[in-house]
Amino acid sequence: MSNRREFLIRTLPAAGLTGLASLASLRGQSLGGDQALFRVEVDLVVLNVAVTDRRGNYVRGLKPINFRVLEDGISQRLAAFGEGNAAPVRVSEISISGSPEAVKDELPANLELPVGESFAGANVFVLFDTSNFMYRSFVYAEDAIADFIRGLDEADSVALYGFSRNLTRHAALTDDRLEAVKGLRRSVAGDETALYNALLLTLRDAAKVSGRKVVIVFSNGPDTASTVGPDDVGAIAEDEGIPIYVISTKDLNKDPISSNAFRRITARTGGRAYFAKTWQRQSEAFVNIREELASSYTMAYYPQPNPNRSWRNIEVELSGPELSKYRVRTRNGYRPKI
C-alpha cells in the first residue's frame, strides 16, 4: 500500500449509520506517473448492542470504555458511540476519564461518521403478516401494532409493510405516526405466506436507509410460498447489521419448524424472538422491543487490518469485573463486501 492515503467518501447515502456500509474506499496512489491505483475497502461496522442483567432488565449508562469489541479476536477501536435513541457521537469527543485510545489520529478528520442529531432514533420497519394464516388474529394484531407505533420514541421513524404472497409497502418510512397507522389500517388479508421473501425485501429497503434500523416481523409462522430460506435472509441481515425481531402469534411448541427458524435469525442478528399467542403477550413483546430500542447501544468502528475476506466473527465484551455479570447481545459477525 502506498504511503500516501486518501479517504474518499464513496456514496452519500452510505455515509449514515449503515450496518456495514462501504463508507469509504481507501485509495492508494503511486507516486509515479503511471497512475496505478489499488483499492482496499474500508467497511464501517455498526453494532446494535443490548446489555441485560440476569433478570433481563436493560443496563443503561455504560460508556465506550466499558466495551471491548473483537473482530476475529482482533481488538477494535470504536469510532462512534451512542446510547438508546440519543444521537451517536464520535468517541474521540466523549469526555470521560480513561477513554479508549483516541481515534482521531487514526481516522482522517474528513471521514464521515454516523454521528449527530440526524442519526438519533431508529428506523423501525414493521413487517406484518396478512396471509390467510393470520386471518383469525388479523384485527388484534393490527391493534397491537398500532399501539406500538404510537408508543415509539419521538426520534424514531417507522415503515409499515405487509405481506402474503408478495410484499406491500403500506406506509413508507415516516415520523408521522398517523400516516403509519393509516397504512396499517389499509392493509387487506391476502393468501399464501411468503415470509422470508418479504423479509428479504424489507431488509433490502432498510439497508438503503442511513442510520440505525431494525426490522420487526409480526407473523404466525408457517411459510408456504417463499423461495428463499431463513438462514440466507438472516445472513443478509447480519451483513447489513440490521437486527430482526420476530413476534410469533403461535406458541413455541406449536410450530417447531418456524420457532427454530425464528430463533436462529433473531439470535444471529442481535434481535429477539417472542412467542406470544395472546393479544396481551403480543403487546408485552412490543413494549419489550420498544424498551430495547431505547436502551441498547450503537457502536461503530473501522476494522483493524484483517486478511480474512470471508466471515468475520464479532465479540463484544464488557470490561471490568463488576460488569461481567451482565449479558451482551449483538450480531455474530459479518462478511466484508469484496
Binding site: L178, D191, V228, G229
Partner: protein, 1124 residues
C-alpha cells in the same frame, strides 16, 4: 443518449444560421444517421429562423408526429396558421384532427375538422364528436349499499375498474372462487370469499342506515351517542378517554375485520377522537350498470328476491351466464336474450362462457367459418336462422360443436381456407365429436386443454396451402399403428393402416384433441412441426421417426432444434449424445456430466442467437461440444468434456487463445456491441460478473489453470498451493444449511440427495491431500482433475443462470447455493431432460430455492422463481402468477445490440400509423370497412364491437385503448401491403416514411427481422426462445400449463417499449438495461382483476412510459437550454 447530446452540443450554432431548406436537409441526414435529437433541434432551429415558412413548419411538425412527440399537434396548428398550400393544409389539418381525437381532446378535434373541411376534405363531419360516451345501450342500473371502492376491495377486484366493468368481473370471481362443490358433489357451498362479501353487505347496509338520507356518517364529538353506535357497527370500542389517549380497540373481530378489509377510514376516525374533533365521512349507495337491467337477472335466478345484488351473489349459474353474455358480441347477446328465456340460457352458460365469445350475428344471420350447408348438416339448423342456429350450436353434442366453431373461427388466411373446405370441415368435426359426446368440453371452470385451439391455429402449411406433415404420412401411420409408447386409441390404430393423405393424419389429431388426458400424438406433431417450420430443407423421414421415439423422454430438448435449424445428422447426434450421457452409471457423475453438457449447449445456443458464432461454425461447434460426452467413464473425462466445450465455444467465437476464459465468456454473454455501444455493454458485463460472484462460483480461469497445474504435477512439478487455496477459500464459504437446522426442519428440508452429495463432495475437496495420496503416480495425479468436475459444472451452469436472471435477481443474490442446488436428476432420477422447474415452495420444502430438471426452459423457471419478489404498487394487487414469468422472459431473453434507431423508429411508425388509421376510420366509412375487416382477424368480436361503439360515440381515445400495440402494428403492416392508397391517404406522415426506411435498409427493416428483434419468445407455443411475432388472436384462459399459451399470445410488450424508446430517442443499446427495468415496473403496477385483463397491463405500461417520458423530456429540455 449521451452521445446524441454531445453531438448536439457540437453542432448547435452552426446549423441555425443555415437556410431553412438546408437545415431541413441536415436534419434529415442526422435523423437517418440515428441522431434523432440532433435532427429535432435542427428543425426547431430552422423554425426559429423561419417562423412563417409553411414547409419548414411542416417538416418540424411531421418530425414530431413521426416520433409521437406531444408537441406535434401544436406544430401542425402553426403550419395551418402560416397560409400553406392546399395539400399541406389538408395534411396538417388531418393530423391535427386525428391527434386531437386520439388524445380525447374534442375541442381541438373540432378545430382540426373545420380546417380540414376548409382544405377541401369532404364528408368528415364533426357530429361524430357530439356523441355521449356513456351509458351504453342495453344497460339498466342496480344499487348496492356502501362505497364503490369498498365493494371492489371486498370483491377482490381492481380499484381501477369503472362501474360498468364491475359486474362482469365480480361474476367471474363468483364462478371461479365463490363456490366449492360439497363432499358428495351434490351441492355447491359458499367459500369464505363469498361469505365475507355477504357479511360486508350487511355491515354496509347498517352504515348506510346510520348515515341517513344525507348519506354522511356524522360524529359530532368523541363524547356522543353517535360514537358508540358507529363503533358498534364497526366492531370497535374506545379505549382510554376522549383526547390524546383515545385508541380504537377491537371488540367484535368479525365486524372489525370487515371494517379493515373494506378500507373504512379507521385511522382518520381514531385521529378525530384523539383530537376530540368532529368526524364526517360520505357514505351512500353505489349505482352499477347492469347488462340488460337488474330485472332480467332477478327473474332468471333460482332463488326469488327483489334485491339484485343478493340474487346475483346467490346463483353461480346466473353469474356464469353474466360472464358469458358480457363478453359476447353485444348485438348477438341482445338477440339471444330476446329470443331465448334466461332460465334456458342459464343451462348452457358454461358453453357460452367458453365459446360464445366468437358468436356473431350479422343481419339476422349467424356468421360461420366456411359453408352454411356444412354447418347446417352438422347441427341441423341453417346459419340463416340466426339465433336458432346459435342455440343449436350451443346445445348440440354437449358443446363440441361450439368448441369446433370457436377453434375454426380463430383461424385466418390459409388455415381458414383449408379447414373450411366443406368435406374436410365435416370430416374433422365427426372425428372430434366421436361417438359419445359426454363429457363435453365446457365441464370445468377453465378450458381443460388447449389442444384443439393449438391444432387449428398452429398447423403449418406449405406455399400451396397444403398442410405440412413432417416426415410424410407413413411415419405418422407407424406411430399410430405400432404405438411405440403405448396404444393411443384402438379405433385409430385400426384406421391408420389405411392412411394415405395428410387429411388422414389430421383427422386423427382432431379425434385425439377431445381427450382430456395427455395427447401425446398432437404434442409430438406440434413439436416436430415447430422444428420443421424453421427449416429450408424438410426433416428426413428417419429423423422424424427418431424424434418421435425420443419424444417421451427428451421431447423438451427439441426446442434446441427449433431455435437453431440443424442438419438431420446433428439432430440425431444430439439425441445420441443425450442417450449416452444418460447412461453414465454413478448418479453424481451423471449429474455433473449432464450439467456440463446442458450448460455448454445452452451457452452455444446463446452465442448462436447473438450471432457470435459464424454460420459455418455453428454445427461443427455443437458436434465438437457433444463428442467428449459420448465416452464418459470417469470424473476426469467429465472435467475434460467441460473444458473442451468451453474451448470450442471460445474458438468458434473468435477469441484470442490467451484470453481468460472467464472474462471472455462474460464478455461474450454480455452481447456483441457495435461501435458506440461500449458503455451499455460494460454495464451489462458488470451485472453478469457481479451475479456470478454472488453465487461464490469459481472462475473458469482458476479451474483451468489449476487443471493445467495438476497436469504438470503429474510430470513432477509441485502443486500450486496458492491456487488450490484460492479454490478452497471460495468453496469454504458454501455451507449446506442442514447443520443449522432442527430435526423437524431437517426432515422437511427437501434439497434432494443428489444435490446434497454434490455440495458435500465440493466441501470435502482437498487437492493437496489428493496429490499426497497419489504418491507420485502420474495417472492418479492426472485423475485428480476429476475432483473439480462438479465445481466446473456449477461455474458453467452459473453463467447461464446469470445470463437469464430476471431484474432484481433476488434468488441469485441472496441464496449462495441456488446454482449449486440445481438438481439435474430429480428424486427418481428421471427429470434430467425435462424443462427446468422451481422445486418446492415455502420453508423448508423449498430448501431455500432450487430448480430441478434440465437447463431447457431455464429463463421461464428463473422468472417463475423471481416473480414473488416483485412488489405490487397496489394493495391487494396480486402478481399474475401464470402470466408474469412470460412477460418477464420477454425482457430477459432478448438482447438489443447492433439495433439501429431506424429499427426502433420502424416499429414506432407502425404503431402510430395503426392508431392513426383506426382513428381515421371513425370518420371515413370506406376506411372503416377495411380497418375493421383486418382487425376482425385478430380481435375478438365483442372487443371489436366495443371499439366500433366507442368510435361511433366520438370517444376515439376510449376505443383505441381497447387495441393492443401488436394489433395496431399489424394493422399498419397489412394496410400498407393490401390497401396502399388508403394507407397513404390516412396514414400520413407515417406511410411514406415507412416505405422510405424499408427501401433504404431492406435487410434491417423487413417484418421478419423486426419480429426477430422486438418479438417475444414463445416457449410453449413455438417451443423456442427465439423471438417472433406470431400475430395470433389473444387466447382465452385455460387451465394449468395451458395458461402459458394465453400469456404467449400477448406480443405487445417489446413493441410498446420500442415505440417508447423511439419517442424518447433512447440509444438502442440502452434497451438492454431499460427494458428489463420497465418490464419489472410494469408488472409491479399491474392491478388486474383476472387473467385476461390485458387492459390492466396496458394501463400499467402507460404509467411506466409516462414516467420515462417525463424524465427524458426534462433531461432533453435541460440539454437544449444548455446548448443554446
Amino acid at each position: 443518449m449521451r452521445r446524441l447530446l454531445c453531438s448536439l452540443f457540437l453542432m448547435t450554432g452552426v446549423a441555425f444560421s443555415a437556410p431553412a431548406g438546408e437545415s431541413v436537409e441536415q436534419a434529415r441526414q442526422a435523423e437517418r444517421a440515428g441522431r434523432g435529437m440532433e435532427a429535432r433541434e435542427l428543425l426547431a432551429g430552422a423554425v426559429r429562423e423561419n417562423p412563417s415558412d409553411p414547409q419548414t413548419l411542416l417538416a418540424l411538425a411531421d418530425f414530431l408526429d413521426r416520433y409521437g412527440d406531444p408537441g406535434a399537434a401544436e406544430a401542425y396548428r402553426k403550419v395551418l396558421d402560416a397560409s400553406p398550400s392546399p395539400e399541406t393544409a389538408r395534411v396538417a389539418a388531418l393530423r391535427l384532427t386525428l391527434l386531437a381525437a386520439e388524445s380525447g381532446d374534442k375541442a381541438a378535434a373540432r378545430e382540426g375538422l373545420k380546417r380540414l373541411q376548409a382544405a377541401g376534405q369532404a364528408g368528415w363531419s364533426d357530429s361524430l364528436l357530439d356523441g355521449a360516451a356513456s351509458p351504453s345501450e342495453g344497460f339498466g342500473v342496480a344499487e348496492i349499499p356502501g362505497i364503490f371502492d369498498s365493494f371492489l376491495r371486498m370483491s377482490a377486484l381492481s380499484t381501477d375498474l369503472e362501474p360498468g366493468q364491475l359486474l362482469p368481473a365480480l361474476a367471474r370471481n363468483l364462478v371461479t372462487g365463490g363456490y366449492r362443490t360439497s363432499r358428495g358433489g351434490e351441492s355447491q357451498q359458499e367459500t369464505e370469499y363469498l361469505k365475507l362479501l355477504k357479511q360486508y353487505l350487511t355491515q354496509a347496509r347498517e352504515l348506510e342506515q346510520f348515515a341517513g338520507p344525507d348519506e354522511m356518517l356524522d360524529v359530532p364529538a368523541c363524547e356522543s351517542t353517535e360514537t358508540a353506535a358507529l363503533l358498534k357497527i364497526l366492531g370497535y370500542r374506545l379505549r382510554g378517554e376522549c383526547g390524546p389517549d383515545a385508541v380504537l380497540e377491537t371488540v367484535n373481530p368479525s365486524r372489525a375485520f370487515l371494517s379493515i378489509d373494506s378500507a373504512f377510514p379507521l385511522a382518520e376516525l381514531e385521529d378525530a377522537y384523539r383530537r376530540d374533533a368532529e368526524f364526517h365521512h360520505p357514505y351512500g349507495r353505489t349505482q352499477l350498470p347492469v347488462l340488460f337491467g337488474p330485472e332480467y337477472w332477478i327473474e332468471a335466478a333460482d332463488a326469488k328476491g327483489e334485491d339484485f345484488i343478493n340474487v346475483f351473489l346467490g346463483d353461480p349459474y346466473l353469474a356464469r351466464l353474466y360472464v358469458a353474455m358480457s363478453k359476447m358480441h353485444r348485438p348477438t347477446a341482445i338477440a339471444l336474450k330476446e329470443a331465448i328465456p334466461a332460465k334456458e340460457l342459464k343451462n348452457f352458460a358454461n358453453v357460452l362462457d367458453f365459446f360464445g365469445e366468437t358468436y356473431v350475428l350479422r343481419d339476422g344471420k349467424a356468421v360461420v367459418p366456411g359453408s352454411d350447408q356444412v354447418w347446417q348438416k352438422i347441427i341441423e339448423t341453417p346459419p340463416s336462422k340466426g339465433v336458432e342456429f346459435l342455440r343449436a350450436l350451443t346445445e348440440t353434442d354437449d358443446g363440441w360443436t361450439a368448441a369446433y366453431y370457436d377453434a375454426i373461427m380463430r383461424t385466418d388466411g390459409v388455415a381458414r381456407t383449408y379447414f373450411t373446405e366443406p368435406q374436410r370441415l365435416e370430416r374433422f368435426y365427426d372425428a372430434l365429436r366421436g361417438k359419445v359426446t359426454s363429457p363435453g368440453p365446457a365441464r370445468p371452470i377453465f378450458r381443460a386443454t388447449a389442444d384443439l385451439l393449438l391444432l387449428a391455429t398452429r398447423l403449418p402449411f406449405d406455399a400451396n396451402g397444403k398442410p405440412v406433415i413432417p416426415g410424410g404420412v407413413a411415419v405418422w401411420k407407424e406411430l399410430f399403428t405400432q404405438h411405440p409408447h403405448g396404444k393411443y386409441d384402438g379405433k385409430l390404430t385400426k384406421s391408420a393402416q389405411n392412411w394415405t393423405a395428410p387429411d388422414d393424419v389430421l383427422e386423427a389429431l382432431f379425434a385425439m384433441s377431445r381427450k382430456v388426458i395427455e395427447n401425446e400424438p398432437l404434442k409430438i406433431f406440434l413439436a416436430v412441426s415447430n422444428i420443421e417450420r424453421q427449416r429450408s430443407k424438410p426433416l428426413a423421414e428417419a429423423t422424424v421417426r427418431r424424434l418421435m421415439l425420443s419424444f417421451p423422454g427428451h421431447g423438451d430438448q427439441f426446442s434446441l432444434f427449433t431455435e437453431t435449424p440443424l442438419s438431420d445428422e446433428a439432430i440425431v447426434g444430439y439425441l445420441d449424445a443425450i442417450e449416452k450421457v444418460s447412461k453414465v452409471s454413478r448418479p453424481t457423475r451423471r449429474a455433473d456430466s449432464i450439467g456440463n453438457f446442458q450448460a455448454l449447449t445452452g451457452l452455444w445456443q446463446i452465442l448462436v442467437r447473438q450471432g457470435q458464432i459464424p454460420a459455418d461454425r455453428i454445427e461443427p461447434t455443437l458436434v465438437r461440444i457433444l463428442q467428449p460426452f459420448l465416452g464418459i467413464d470417469n470424473n476426469q473425462k467429465v472435467f475434460e468434456a467441460g473444458r473442451d466445450g468451453v474451448l470450442a465455444l471460445l474458438e468458434a467465437s473468435g477469441s484470442q487463445p490467451d484470453a481468460s476464459p472467464q472474462d471472455r465468456l462474460i464478455e461474450l454473454l454480455a452481447g456483441r456491441p457495435s461501435p458506440g455501444e461500449e458503455v451499455a455493454h460494460a454495464e451489462v458485463s458488470k451485472r453478469l460478473a457481479g451475479l456470478f460472484n454472488s453465487q461464490r462460483l469459481v472462475s473458469l480461469k482458476t479451474l483451468f489453470d489449476l487443471a493445467d497445474n495438476l497436469e504438470r504435477v503429474s510430470r513432477g512439478e509441485s502443486l500450486n498451493v496458492a491456487m488450490a487455496n484460492r479454490l478452497a477459500e471460495t468453496i469454504s464459504e458454501v455451507n449446506l444449511p442442514q447443520a443449522q437446522l432442527s430435526t423437524p426442519e431437517s426432515n422437511a428440508f427437501a434439497q434432494g440427495d443428489w444435490v446434497t452429495d454434490h455440495i458435500r463432495d465440493q466441501q470435502k475437496l482437498n487437492l493437496q491431500r489428493s496429490v499426497d495420496g497419489a504418491s507420485g503416480n502420474p495417472q492418479q495425479l492426472l485423475e485428480i482433475r476429476g475432483e473439480i468436475a462438479g465445481v466446473l459444472r456449477d461455474s458453467l451452469v452459473g453463467l447461464l443462470y446469470v445470463y437469464y436472471s430476471p431484474p432484481g435477481a433476488e434468488l441469485i443474490r441472496s441464496n449462495p447455493l441456488f446454482v449449486r442446488s440445481h438438481d439435474f436428476l430429480g428424486s427418481d432420477q428421471s427429470r434430467s431432460w425435462e424443462v427446468a422447474r422451481l422445486q418446492g415452495l415455502g420453508w423448508p420444502s423449498s430448501a431455500g430455492g432450487r430448480l430441478t430438471g434440465s437447463l431447457i426452459g431455464l429463463p421461464y423457471a428463473l422468472a417463475d422463481s423471481e416473480q414473488n419478489f416483485l412488489i405490487p404498487s397496489e394493495r391487494q394487487a396480486l402478481i399474475w402468477q401464470d402470466l408474469a414469468p412470460q412477460i418477464l422472459i420477454g425482457a430477459t431473453v432478448p438482447r438489443w445490440w447492433g439495433v439501429t434507431a431506424g429499427e426502433m423508429h420502424f416499429v414506432g411508425l407502425h404503431v402510430r400509423m395503426g392508431r392513426a388509421l383506426a382513428a381515421a376510420s371513425a370518420f371515413d366509412a370506406e376506411l372503416a370497412a377495411k380497418v375493421f375487416a383486418l382487425l376482425g382477424d385478430r380481435v375478438e368480436p365483442s372487443r371489436l364491437w366495443d371499439v366500433e361503439q366507442a368510435f361511433r360515440k366520438g370517444a376515439l381515445a376510449e376505443g383505441l385503448e381497447e387495441l393492443a400495440p401488436a394489433e395496431v402494428y399489424e394493422l399498419a403492416q397489412l394496410m400498407l401491403a393490401r390497401e396502399p392508397e388508403l394507407a397513404d391517404r390516412f396514414g400520413t406522415p407515417f406511410a411514406a416514411e415507412i416505405r422510405e426506411l424499408a427501401q433504404r435498409e431492406p435487410e434491417k427493416l423487413s417484418y421478419e427481422r423486426i419480429a426477430g428483434v422486438f418479438g417475444t419468445p414463445h416457449p410453449a407455443l413455438s417451443e423456442s426462445y427465439g423471438l417472433e411475432l406470431l400475430h395470433l388472436p389473444l387466447f382465452p384462459t385455460m387451465m394449468g400449463y395451458s395458461s402459458r399459451i394465453l400469456a404467449e399470445s400477448w406480443e405487445s410488450t417489446n413493441l410498446y417499449w420500442a415505440t417508447l424508446a423511439d419517442e424518447t430517442h433512447l440509444e438502442p443499446a440502452f434497451l438492454n438495461l431499460r427494458v428489463p427495468q420497465w418490464t419489472q415496473q410494469a408488472i409491479e403496477r399491474i392491478f388486474a382483476t383476472h387473467l385476461e385483463d390485458w387492459p390492466a397491463l396496458l394501463r400499467s405500461m402507460r404509467i411506466v412510459a409516462d414516467r420515462q417520458r417525463t424524465q427524458s423530456r426534462a433531461m432533453l429540455d435541460s440539454a437544449m437550454r444548455a446548448s443554446r
